[in-house]
């Protein structure tokens, strides 16, 4: 099973991206949202991210998608706090948040290879909209 963690500076964005992705999820991906700082303020919270990752620890691989800037730092701090057995399964994916998460969830329904799922998510940054 694949785990996906949606990290955003906004709790609403993280929940919203999760909601969209769940539309395409037929139970093969465990999706968790970790958005916002304490008290729902804008920011990231390493403890929240760590807990979200831990909730997905049954997954064989856990991919973390982040929005911008310090979300990467917050996630790296969270990963450092994890037990080694969980930490080894986690990877931050360099992809757009909405497109990347959606592409990964859908690709995971046709491909078992985690590298293929990661590459599809990364390539989603080249997707033309117009």
């Amino acid at each position: 099973m694949l785990g996906i963690i949606v990290v955003s500076h906004s709790e609403k964005v993280a929940e919203g991206v999760k909601d969209i992705a769940e539309q395409m999820n037929s139970g093969q991906v465990l999706i968790r949202a970790a958005g916002g700082a304490e008290d729902g303020r804008i920011g990231t919270n390493p403890v929240k991210i760590k807990e979200a990752i831990e909730e997905a620890k049954v997954a064989d691989n856990i991919l973390v998608f982040v929005d911008i800037g310090s979300a990467v730092m917050g996630t790296e701090t969270a990963i450092d706090m994890l037990e080694k057995s969980i930490r080894e399964k986690v990877k931050i994916v360099d992809a757009p948040l909405v497109e990347g998460v959606l592409a990964a969830v859908i690709q995971a329904s046709v491909e078992q290879d985690i590298e293929g799922v990661i590459n599809t998510a990364i390539e989603s940054k080249n997707m033309c909209k117009l």
Binding site: M24, E99, L102, A103, I106, Q107, V110, T120, C128, K129
Partner: protein, 81 residues
């Protein structure tokens, strides 16, 4: 090789859903499966291609399928548009 013109009938509010269904169906077959729209040719086995195509109800596309299981592939996929 089979070439078939089809008109999009589905009117889902969220087009990622039919795209995912087409992807899943297309990946079951060995044949190459292409969708041609406005001169653009994309593989139906790639979710990014399908999403960027953004098919709308009423549009006409061409389905181009080539391979040993092309007939079965056409039968399965044609109903998903």
């Amino acid at each position: 090789m089979i070439e078939r013109q089809i008109t999009i009938k589905r009117d889902d509010g969220f087009h990622a859903r039919p795209a995912a269904e087409i992807l899943k169906a297309a990946n079951k077959f060995k044949s190459t499966i292409y969708i041609k729209k406005d001169g653009k040719l994309i593989s139906a086995k790639s979710i990014l291609n399908l999403l960027s195509l953004a098919l709308k109800c009423g549009e006409t596309i061409e389905l181009i399928i080539d391979g040993e299981d092309e007939k079965q592939a056409l039968d399965e996929i044609i109903g998903l548009f």
